[in-house]
């Protein structure tokens, strides 16, 4: 799905989290929102997912105005920074949650849900952990379960907030490739937030560099490296 962000601004009381920002994400792209802490990346992602509403501006999905769609209507697969797995549910029930929450008419039968969960567990390469609880998983496993849970709703896009933030270096590297693979298999338009420029440059088709609620530069990793648009970008990618 093709996403347009049109002059979106967001204030929290006196803090301007986003000055008007505009961004166009082509269908199927893997996009990194890159910037230091407090630059507005999470806010932008939450506005796309419908968890936050902008003070001004519009969001368009495939050219249709989606600004006033509720979080449920957006059908965005969202992976939270801390994963936010349901601690009192098994991995199976976590992944099945979105399907079970559907209205009866569109809810798949039990056997079909079980089949889909099994497929998703296979996709994240953890076929045998359905019966476990989140507290029994490693950080990397939790992240992958969160991804599977988001994919289960057959989302229109995938939004990930610092998906590798809480993991050690080795696991990060593995999961980066995992995300790339899942993106390539599903073909979903995917935005992920990161403050790690290596991660953004290595993984993304398109990198959006943000600072203090503004977009500093949008471009392919190689272009941003070769031609940083502002002094901020030059310094940030050199760091």
């Amino acid at each position: 799905m093709h996403i347009d962000i049109d002059e979106i601004s967001k204030e929290f009381g006196a803090t301007a989290a986003l000055h008007p920002v505009s961004l166009s994400v082509p269908s199927g792209a893997l996009v990194a929102l890159l910037g230091p802490s407090g630059s507005g990346k999470t806010t932008l992602l939450r506005i796309l997912g419908g968890l936050e509403f902008p003070n001004a501006g519009r969001v368009l999905f495939d050219g249709q105005d989606a600004t006033n769609l509720t979080v449920q209507q957006r059908r965005a697969g969202f992976v939270f920074q801390s994963y936010a797995l349901f601690r009192h549910m098994s991995v199976f029930d976590n992944i099945a949650y979105g399907l079970n929450a559907r209205p009866r008419a569109s809810r798949p039968p039990k056997a079909e849900i079980a089949r889909r969960v099994a497929n998703l567990l296979a996709l994240i390469q953890l076929p045998d952990i359905g019966a476990r609880y989140p507290s029994q998983l490693s950080g990397g496993q939790r992240q992958r379960v969160a991804l599977a849970r988001a994919l289960a709703i057959e989302p229109r896009m995938l939004l990930l907030d610092e998906p590798f933030g809480a993991l050690d270096a080795k696991v990060r590297k593995e999961l980066r490739q995992g995300l790339r693979d899942i993106h390539d298999t599903t073909g979903l338009t995917t935005l992920f937030v990161t403050h790690d420029q290596d991660e953004a440059m290595e993984l993304a088709d398109l990198v959006v560099v943000m600072s203090m609620g503004r977009i500093e530069q949008i471009g392919k990793p190689a272009d941003i490296r070769a031609r940083p648009a502002t002094p901020f970008v030059r310094e940030f990618i050199a760091a």
Binding site: L51, F80, G98, A101, S135, A152
Partner: protein
Amino acid sequence: MSDAAPALRHPVTTERPLTRWLLIGLVITVLSILLFAPLIAVFVEALRDGLGAAVASLGAPEARSAIRLTLTVAAISVPLNAAFGIAAAWLVAKYDFRGKTLLLTLIDIPFSVSPVVAGLCLVLTFGAHSALGGWLVAQGHPIVFAFPGIVLASMFVTFPFVARELIPVMVEQGRAEEEAALTLGASGWRVFRSVTLPNIRWALLYGVLLSNARAMGEFGAVAVVSGKIRGVTATMPITIEMLYNEYLSTAAFALAAVLTLLALVTLGLKTLLEIRHADALAAARRH
């Protein structure tokens, strides 16, 4: 340090045996004097004239009415307070708004105001001499010296328990799981049922058990608003006091023993649940 060697033999966190035994002895003595002795005394006094007399005294209309009233009041005020407590804790824990500190202070008022004063406030507000109370009496719905007043008084004194148990748990858990459920398409009500409630169930249970114990045992506030009408608005604690003042020892202590048993059942229930669900409890705390 000059005597490093003994310090090594005695890790700092381990007391010397003498200290340890002194401490244990002190705790047991205090517990015995303050808790066990009175508890046993209640049952001894109740059974002084034999089990038959005690049971017979419980069959008296006055005692039966008191038991029924106390159980009914608890059955109404505890669920209502659980609902209010959940709502208040939800507001405080999940949202930022002006006047949050004020709300927290308000929730705590019943802890700091004497129950008798609370009872008097209810009488002033709803009594026949106030505008509101006069109107209610005229409509045939008196609050003071009647059942609704007792429920209000019980709710007032037990209001903080559920909210106070829930707030820290909800603050600690944050909003992320609920937001995740919303992004997965769940309605607000479904999120509450399937995510919020299960996550707070232990704290909620504690709060409910505490308010139940307090609701059944409350004396001061209820004494003021109930008017202590025998067989009508006299709850168990009030009836116990009246019987005791009339030197009807067996009857007083038999009823007191029933109240104590109800409290012990509550305590037993809590312990049982703790043992049964030790794993879930630990997991909920650990995560």
